[in-house]
Amino acid sequence: MVARSAGFTLIETIIALVLSSIVIMLVSTTFLVQTQYYSAQTLRAQAHDNARTATERMAGELRSVMDEGFVVAGRRTLTVRSPVRLFAVCDVTSTNVYVHNEGGETGLYNAEIAGVAWLNQSTGDWDYRTATWAYMDGTTGTPAPSCAVSGADTTWATGEFHRVRRLGLLYGTFPIEGDILMLYRETTFKIQTSVLEPGTLGLFRGTYGQPLVELATGMDSTAQFQYRTGGTTYADTITSANLSSIDAVRFVADARKRAESGGQRDVTYGWSVNMVLRNVP
């Protein structure tokens, strides 16, 4: 009697198998749902990440764009001149122009410098000239002592004073003490077919004379630039005559992540950001 009750009958075994199958199916389904959920959330996070990365990088450069800083303002192409560094002229002699350079040359990323601009303090306009830093960099002279004679406080900051050369050749005249110069980069942002993630658009960035590099992937087909020229409305394209009137840029950075399996749908992320240019009146 004890031996019989300890064993399994066929029916008991079948029932156990059926119940076990049902349980395993339930558990498997749970795992499957979790996996799909994880994949979808990962895609969503990547889409968010792409959109944010693209906009934050762009915003950092666009916020500082000065007056007259737009070169091209199209629906999918944007070229701007933004400051790498601002200089204030602290001393001028017949052959030398000495400037204050926040952070000194060691902190200057000169590979991106496309030229120099000179601020007209009466009109607020910048006069841009193309030149490399190697062309303008004056490594000799006595910048700190000369600027100190002109009234500059050079204490603990002699490395922040520098000589700039060939401004006379670039402009035909020399600046005076108190004039403001800007070393600028010329950056092109372009929305075009992604190389890294085929089937989507990517945001590409390139500095003057350099090839475009993909900065962010996964842009949807609706991604574009828009521009405000006063007022509250944004337009897709601005004519060259109105480039100087741009006071804000909107980057419609809608993102799309393609589904990795047939059971999923593409994940889209509607994202746009308005970047007001703080140095443009």
């Binding site: 979790q34 994880y38 944010r52 500082s64």
Partner: protein, 348 residues
């Protein structure tokens, strides 16, 4: 309980335990997945928010410093702005002329949260600014936007001739200035004295012409929220260096007596109606002045800055004499910064 029942119970318990373990595992996987996704999103959003806030704090700190700056430019100051701190440092870059210097103003902001106390978000902005030293122009000993100003017959004295010599201070023995400026008439009654070079001028262009000529930021200086050295109470002179010329302000009607004797810049954001025992060395700026005025000013008075003076004729019964040294020192306290437009940039 017999033996068979105990065996049966043990077998069911093992099967349920396996199920529970599997379900707990599934739930754990789901929870971990959800946590990772939410946490990474949260980190990204928080980082972006803190970065944006740090930039806003840096800009706010820079603009606040420039707006509130008066007198000598300090080397550094920090402000608590929003959820962060902005540290402002300045450096003089050049002297354009004797009254205009160029400064570099740098604002470094940090914003930290309880989640990232050791790695706060940091942003730096810089800008150039002109420092306008001694901005007030020396036009007249008494400049009032009234129709007429008279040195009254009972000993009234308005004198634009410099009372200081070159030995008194570096700017002493300055060029003599006009005695009084009014809109249409200046003069002296019998027994009163109006002196200067010339004794009087009429600026019929009215308030706007007179206001625009002096180079004052009256809208800023008269704003009760604009910080000055002393507000509403006279400075404690015993605790101040003898060469200090602070900025004091009184809001509304002001009838000073001897308790307000002092020096520096006195701003009256209302009507000035001084008593005979009052004396001031330096610059007095008033929204309006009473029609019959007493007291002694060694320096300069500019009255009626709120608009055309409400009293069309002002009779000066007291004494105003131009002391260039007092004016020079007080004027230094009015120095201010003016941000150069188009020069604010973010330092990466």
């Amino acid at each position: 309980m017999n033996r068979a029942d105990r065996v049966d119970t043990g077998r069911r318990g093992g099967f349920v335990l396996a199920l529970v373990v599997m379900m707990l595992f599934a739930i754990s996987v789901a929870a971990a997945t959800g946590y990772l996704v939410v946490n990474s999103e949260f980190d990204m959003a928080r980082g972006a928010d803190e970065g944006a806030e740090a930039l806003a704090v840096a800009r706010a700190g820079l603009h606040r410093f420039v707006a509130e700056q008066i007198g000598v430019v300090g080397d550094s100051v920090s402000y608590a702005v929003g959820g962060g701190v902005a540290m402002i440092t300045t450096r003089k870059i050049a002297s354009q002329d004797s009254i205009t210097d160029l400064y570099y103003v740098r604002s470094e902001a940090t914003v930290s949260s309880p989640f990232t106390p050791s790695s706060p978000a940091r942003r730096v902005v810089g800008a150039y600014a002109w420092h306008h030293r001694r901005p007030l122009r020396h036009w007249a000993a008494a400049m009032i936007t009234a129709t007429a100003v008279y040195a009254q017959n009972s000993g009234g004295l308005i004198d634009g001739n410099d009372q200081n010599s070159a030995l008194d201070c570096p700017g002493g023995n300055a060029t003599d200035i006009t005695g009084a400026i009014a809109r249409t008439t200046t003069g002296q009654q019998s027994g009163g004295v109006l002196a200067g070079s010339p004794t009087g001028k009429q600026w019929s262009g009215g308030f706007a012409q007179m206001y625009d000529s002096v180079g004052l930021r009256w809208d800023v200086l008269s704003d009760p929220t604009f910080p000055v050295d002393f507000e509403g109470t006279p400075p404690s002179w015993a605790s101040l260096p003898s060469d200090s010329f602070p900025v004091s302000r009184v809001n509304g009607y002001f009838n000073p007596g001897s308790s307000w004797n002092g020096r520096g810049v006195l701003i009256v954001n209302g009507e000035l109606d001084a008593g005979s025992s009052w004396s001031w060395n330096g610059i007095v700026l008033a929204g309006s002045v009473d029609d019959i005025h007493e007291g002694t000013i060694r320096g300069m008075l500019i009255g009626g800055l709120d608009g055309t003076n409400p009293y069309s004729t002002v009779y000066w019964r007291g004494s105003i004499r131009y002391y260039s040294c007092y004016v020079y020192e007080a004027n230094e306290s009015l120095s201010y910064l003016e941000l150069l437009s188009d020069t604010e940039f973010e330092i990466f």
